[in-house]
Assembly symmetry: D2
Homo-oligomer: 386 residues x 4
């Protein structure tokens, strides 16, 4: 079995998301880590690379060097894919350059700092024919895929109502000034962009709702707030949403919801049934019906009505909890299988294409710019940009 | 022990809420049922009264007769209080007349059909000095009272965010045309008023949020929808809310949330802690903290930090579930104890005054009129009427 | 509508279970309280009776007087039923005397102090033709009745395994010596009998298992322990059970399970399905299947497969929690409806006969004597007495 | 960073537990797979090895060859550890041989077919000084470690009661005859040993109880059953347990609990507090107290009172579910870190020694032989072998 070779940008010592990406990439045996530009300073990059057991000559001082040098290595040796796990402001340029040098890209979200950058990346992905994955990892959970399946097959009927919320409490005080690195860059407009909570977690909520239901946000009415004194960007936001086709909904994203850990939750109601999924209990999907008892669907059960995508996304028998890293790994797995099959000149299995891509990234940036406009406007409804 | 004598308006055979009122009134032994005008036709009223074991001479053909005749009975014999459990359009006039004849009133919600009527009732209650209770029964639950206690004592810190929702699924199809009596009058503007879901359950959500937090809605931005074809009034609604003092929030009320039974839920976040309460598990209050583990508070436990109101609202040791009727009975109990102590010329215990009253009714109608205006407006924020 | 007249033995001021019986009896309007011998001293009895609003002449100084005097009143005036809510040692004689004087009896559990007394009562109930109810109240919950229904109709297949447990923590320290009245008599062999926890709560567990499954315990192997120093009787016990027909099981009853409130829980597994019910969430019955998703059955839903008994046992629409008092009231309601219909010379509806009776009481005492023998024996299996 | 080189015995295509071991070993970057004898036939072994990307010369036809050949490779090249994931009857000999050739061993459970074999392995581990890990993986969960910590520090007080159960439903019918490979060998005494359910899952329950509480089983009274017709070994078992120091308990292990997935659950009660943990919600530990509200402890929170072991066992921030593979990986991680530090001539951090070892394996086999004797005996209590 051939493995894809991966280079990483970001993810040095003490990075949270960098180690998640590495564990996710390693899980299924399709990808091996071969090189990295792991930190913003060459020294830290070197230390981080050594800790990961990378050969010294493939630990690079910055991403530009990595992309250039790797592109000069023989094809069977050089990296195939670039994984970008830096703060938001360092997504666009590395991604753009990697694409320009012919590397496939997997990038953290939100994809860029502006919609304009996002559209530019979309163009480049289209013109190069390379693969681009965006780690909206929550869509990697088996029961999220099952939810999508049940909407698509019409089991829930016409979708009428969507309530999604993503609540955290860790920015409850001004931790960005108290040495919390994760908070520090997220709260800084130069590194984070025009929004804090809405970009960091609100885009996950938006992506989840559109992924499961297949419905597009048509217009929205948002209220962003900074509850913590002195904070520049939003730490809490809510919005009313109208979807194409008539569904209505709400979306909440907050990082000042004291005591909440990482509470992403969605409720969807069709005219035949409703469903509920919570990220903290990711292997359970609750399905509610008008005329029969509520059902508890569970990861890895193979009863009638279970979709193929949810089954492919599971590695263990039912009752053996699959968690955050496993869901994250599902994005990497589908991305890798798609590239591997293209390398062999084959069309990938359509199920493998089930990973968030550059279009999701554009959608996320359009969502953020619409939310910002709405929050500053006295007009009730703002049309979703595109 | 003296008992209060109660006459009922509405609550005939097959009435849901009428039997709830009767069981609630009977539970604590402070109230006895003595007369009634139980239905819109004298014949049905008679049958219903017989079934309840009322003496034939005190089963009245309509509420006017009941109030007149009872007022002519000797004081020790005639009813003390009137309980009104009719559809919305039959609240105001019976309540007004009962007050005019000197009877205390306990009335179902929403209190009236218009804000104007509500203000008129408020004036009359004020000028007569009579007691008026409104059965926003969910505030009768011990753990709701404990939630209020924890906000008031400052345990949760400054309140920043309030998310309340009340979801049901029973109006998922056009059951008002299929012989469902409860749906039939609620969906009819002449009997229900200008709103359906928002009046039937949205006002409970509004009342719950203001009761627990003590914060008043300052302005709101609402979106009401009729998802079921041919339905005149709203069966689903959502809104953004700004509270006095800077808290932000959302309120959802839906009766087309397929598969939901009676899902009233509130999450409140202060800068020190958060809390979560769900009506389907009413004896549990979940309290989330920034710096220590989440706690599960339970009805009837008497640990440090438990308020007196929640303890008075409980009749059983912890672990013996107290339900909907018990919470409803707490409204009746406090209303009765207040009147009984006034009868004896004493000031009631301040805790007994803890029942929803005519001011809550005015607040509810102001809320509904604000929501209606907002839903029809292109302006984002509408100030709460008062 | 005629009401049954009830006299009570026990249940004075500060009694827990006495007030439960009164609220339960009052709930459905079939029973009115007319007299009582409420306490072990005439003075306390008088005070308690006054507080309940009983006429002075029908507040009796002891149960013997009550039964005698009431039997001399005209038939339309005297009590119909006697409710016994005293400590265990005061069940048998009052019950026996009430039967001798022609009164129906409803009695708290365990029914007697010995199996011999229980068999004597059974004989007397049989020979008098009077009704006798035993308040194994947990069988009054709608979802317990639904569980029984599902076993009886064969939906779960052949029953193989039954795990029942009843865990409380309130006897975790020697509270019987610290002024806790409820603990004081329960821990005293003279007033409680030969067992503490196994009698107080273990019999509920035994009754629940046999009620739902219809299977009889064939033999058992028990281990009773007193974990709290100085306590004479058991505060914790576990046993292995073999049921008739081949099912196996366990039963746990503990009052030293620190932090547990009133945790009665049962899991039953057949060859087609399994079910799970917990008293703290009494309106939910979880049903597990081999070949389809787990279902959540809920009180008051009327889907296909719901039994009549569970529907009759519910007073409210789904989602309006019905609690401990409501379940207790279901025992009273069926007991009352049975007597009322016999009074009218009619056979009661078979569903009304669904209340625990004197045979359950005999079964409970046989269970206790078997458990005691087993706990003292070195032999593994002891046959259930009968 | 040096990595340990791992060879695997078993775990070929379609093996469930083999792939779990590989993902677990890969997760933290301390171990790389270098060789394997993956199946009982050389042909299947070759195919499986190729699929895993192993070099052809290090795919061996059987475990004997692998151990011999690898031992002849230069030290810097040959495997360091052997991972054994074969059915039970193929644990002892490979483990013994690997130890004899100087390799560290990590082995699936139950460790051997007999207590005698287990004692022999224990001797060899002792005399060679090699490391031996047994994958009682459930002790790898962070909240299990936290539970152990709370018992050890005395927070729960003296332990009085332990109820542990492990329930599955997948052997509900005779699937061993219907092509289910996992069931087929487990139900066969030649490959599984003297027990089925009690060995497959009962030993996990026993290990979990002793791991958390630090208490040893003193004596037990067991009832094993085969509920499915024609099955030779137990598919269901229950026992009463007495622990050293006076705690009492029960242990249930069943594979005919229809509808249960993988329900391992433990409740422990001390005289100050109790705790509850369920494998299906592994990141939650519920702690119950006598005098304050129940607390919900969660993986990766770092509040006062959290132990170091639980923190080391977590890779993600709170609210990012860590699952079965992560817990499994914690066994591998500690095993690897211990060996790596010994390789460097250092004493391992005491926390790294926190993995189940050969003594746990002996304990498990002693438990099984005691259970078998008890189940066949008419004597109530059988002393735990050792």
């Amino acid at each position: 079995m051939t493995k894809l070779k991966m280079g990483v940008i970001g993810g040095g010592i003490d990075s949270f998301i960098g180690s998640v990406h590495r564990m996710a990439a390693a899980m299924d045996g399709h990808i091996e880590l071969v090189c990295g530009a792991l930190s913003s300073t060459p020294e830290r990059s070197r230390k981080s690379g050594e800790q990961l057991g990378l050969p010294p000559e493939r630990i690079y001082g910055d991403y530009r060097k990595m992309i250039e040098k790797e592109s000069q290595l023989p094809e069977e040796e050089r990296m195939d894919i670039v994984s970008i796990t830096t703060p938001n402001y360092m997504h666009y340029q590395p991604a753009r350059m990697a694409l320009d040098y012919g590397f496939h890209v997997i990038c953290d979200k939100p994809m860029t700092m502006t919609l304009e950058e996002a559209l530019d990346l979309e163009n480049h992905v289209g013109s190069t024919g390379l693969e681009f994955a965006l780690t909206h990892n929550y869509t990697g959970y088996p029961m999220v895929k099952q939810a999508k399946h049940m909407v698509r097959t019409g089991e829930l009927g016409k979708i009428r109502k969507i309530a999604v919320e993503y609540l955290q409490g860790w920015l409850n005080t001004k931790v960005e000034d108290m040495g919390n690195k994760q908070a520090n860059w997220r709260a800084d407009p130069k590194r984070s962009g025009k929004v804090l909570a809405m970009g960091d977690i609100g885009t996950h909520a938006e992506n989840l709702a559109e992924y499961i239901t297949g419905l597009k946000i048509k217009s929205l009415c948002a209220d962003l707030t900074s509850h913590v004194e002195g904070r520049i960007l939003d730490d809490d936001g809510s919005m009313l949403i109208r979807y194409e086709g008539g569904a209505t909904g709400t979306l909440l994203a907050s990082q000042i919801a004291t005591g909440e850990e990482n509470n992403l939750k969605i409720n969807i109601y069709g005219d035949k049934g409703g469903l509920e999924w919570e990220q903290v209990s990711p292997n359970t999907l609750i399905v509610k019906w008008a005329n029969k008892p509520t059902e508890i669907l569970r990861t890895a059960t193979q009863f009638a009505g279970f979709g193929k995508a949810s089954q492919l996304a599971s590695r263990l028998p039912a009752g053996h909890p699959e968690g955050f890293i496993e869901a994250f790994a599902n994005i990497y797995k589908n991305f890798a299988l798609t590239i591997l099959s293209r390398k062999e000149g084959k069309d990938p299995d359509p199920e493998w294409l089930d990973f968030p891509n550059v279009h999701d990234g554009v959608r996320g940036m359009a969502f953020l710019e619409t939310v910002i406009e709405s929050s500053q406007s006295n007009q009730k409804w703002i049309w979703m940009k595109s």
